[in-house]
């Protein structure tokens, strides 16, 4: 029997959906609200939700104390750079795994995924030492390399899933039609996989933008992205909640806006292959 959406049922479902959504979004909302409070109001108990004196002084002070634009540019360069480098490596890798699978292809895929199960802190010291010896500490290029490596398994997996959906016969048809490997990838495979590549690109920009462990540990000032910018406001004295919130809001705003505009692509990307 088909389920019928009666009036009450619809309202209940809508309410439930909104409560879950709000519960997930609440920390971010609270951060944004706190960023408009004074430091005193930020730690007031009980806290007031919106009935406080709205102020922009935290933003003014945060801008005066640190160079937001520098950190913003670092974030942009690092997340875009690592994503593009990752795609460059992952497209051929995913192509070969999807269309010329070998006996161990499945194992390689699983092994790649297993690296994501390792706690990153386990390799912090060796990577730190390598970075120190190669002069990569606190450089954008160093972070691009490390974030590429961190996200590569996800990029390869996502592209692999997309490429798997493209019927091999179409590529064979291209070969019969006289296409070289290059023509096949440029004229047939890539245009057919554009939606998949776009979703992968977006998701990885977001992952790289939000990555905090490596960016905090491998940077000091010059190459520090927005994550390090936020962290610089968390002091042991703990009396700077409002400024910390203002810095956080400034840091997450660009990616929130990007995510908002690309949500259709993202949802498709994340659920692709789950349903045919």
């Amino acid at each position: 029997m088909a389920r019928r959406a009666t009036g009450t049922r619809k309202i209940l479902v809508t309410l439930a959906a909104w409560s879950v959504g709000l519960a997930i979004f609440f920390p971010i909302l609270w951060t944004i609200l706190t960023s408009f409070k004074t430091e005193a109001e930020a730690i007031a108990s009980p806290p007031s939700l919106i009935a406080f004196r709205w102020t922009l002084e935290n933003y003014v002070e945060v801008n005066a104390r640190s160079d937001y634009f520098l950190h913003f540019m670092n974030s942009v360069v690092i997340s875009l750079g690592s994503t593009l480098l990752g795609l460059l490596i992952a497209i051929p890798a995913a192509w070969s795994m999807a269309f010329v699978p070998a006996k161990r292809t499945k194992d390689i895929l699983m092994w790649m995924l297993s690296t994501k199960m390792l706690p990153p802190v386990g390799v912090l010291v060796p990577i730190y030492l390598i970075f120190r010896d190669f002069g990569l500490l606190d450089t954008r290029i160093g972070l691009i390399v490390v974030l590429t490596l961190i996200n590569l398994p996800i990029i390869v997996w996502m592209l692999f899933t997309y490429f798997k959906e493209i019927p091999g016969e179409i590529l064979e048809a291209a070969r019969m039609d006289g296409a070289s490997l290059w023509d096949e990838v440029v004229h047939v495979l890539t245009p057919m996989a554009v939606p998949g590549i776009a979703s992968t690109l977006l998701l990885n920009i977001i992952l790289a933008w939000n990555e905090a462990f490596w960016t905090l540990n491998l940077t000091a000032a010059k190459a520090a992205p927005l994550t390090a910018f936020i962290a610089s406001y968390s002091s042991p004295e703990g009396l700077f909640y409002a400024k910390l919130s203002a810095a956080s809001t400034l840091a997450i705003a660009p990616i929130l806006i990007l995510g908002w505009f690309s949500q259709k692509q993202l949802v498709r990307g994340l659920t692709f292959g789950a349903v045919k």
Binding site: E169, A173, R175, M176, D177, A179, D183, H187
Partner: protein, 333 residues
Amino acid sequence: MGRITLSKVTKSFGDVAVIPPLDLEIEDGEFVVFVGPSGCGKSTLLRLIAGLEDVTSGEIVIDGKPATDLPPARRRLAMVFQSYALYPHMSVRKNIAFPLKMAKMDPAEQERRVLAAAKTLNLTDYLDRRPGQLSGGQRQRVAIGRAIVREPEAFLFDEPLSNLDAALRVNMRLEISELHQSLKTTMIYVTHDQVEAMTMADKIVVLRAGHIEQVGSPLELYRNPANLFVACFIGSPKMNVITGEEASRLGAHTIGIRPEHLAITESGGLWRGRVGVAEHLGSDTFLHVHVEGQDPLTVRVAGEAAWRHGDEVALAPLPEHLHRFDANGLALR
């Protein structure tokens, strides 16, 4: 021209030999059909000729030139796939022009050839549509169009009609046959449907488990099947097989008799039985007659027949159409 020779070609996937050593000669301009039950290796054989699979050993010669190690793009063959394999992101025009674009042909000439192919295949009104906006038959025609524009040495068809409905299949069968008449290019056609094989082929290659069971014209295979497998595979409905004492009485281990070569008589006849199911097609009637000690025999009666379920009948085979086979299933000549 499109003469294709396979000598001692084999193919194995890992330890599994799909094609044991096989020799085959395909003459220029011939319409050759590979037919056999599913899993007999007919598609693999086609893909070996296309170059989409590498041969494990042996030689393939196309148009007098060794092609064994050539990539598919350089064999000058065109292929039509079962799934049509059209490029979904390109218009019909671009789909058909794709092989010409890959050959870096002059755009004006490309356009001229695309229009000519579209005219032949009744696709002129659909040139700017995407494959997703076409019906199955139209997609099939686009796939054929993409194959004919580049004037290949030979066409390879991999079960091209199996995704179409019955009426359309008959139409496309005729269109492909007509295309062959007008182009006179070698065509290799893979199917599991013996009706397609019988109606289209100049030469049929019957395959079983990678082995060629028999090669010949449709009527040769119908009249003189080399063995029981070919005898049962070619012809519709299937040949009746009689074994045991009845067969020995007629001087063979196994006797085959086609439904159209069994007559129903009032008196005499070799076998007596009772009519089970009667299938009335209008033009023909197929009676399934249950004979003691044998599988039901199918009898074809031209036109409408008055026999009904339960009637007792006598069957007389036409002696000149009896097929005799030995214990290994080979035809006794």
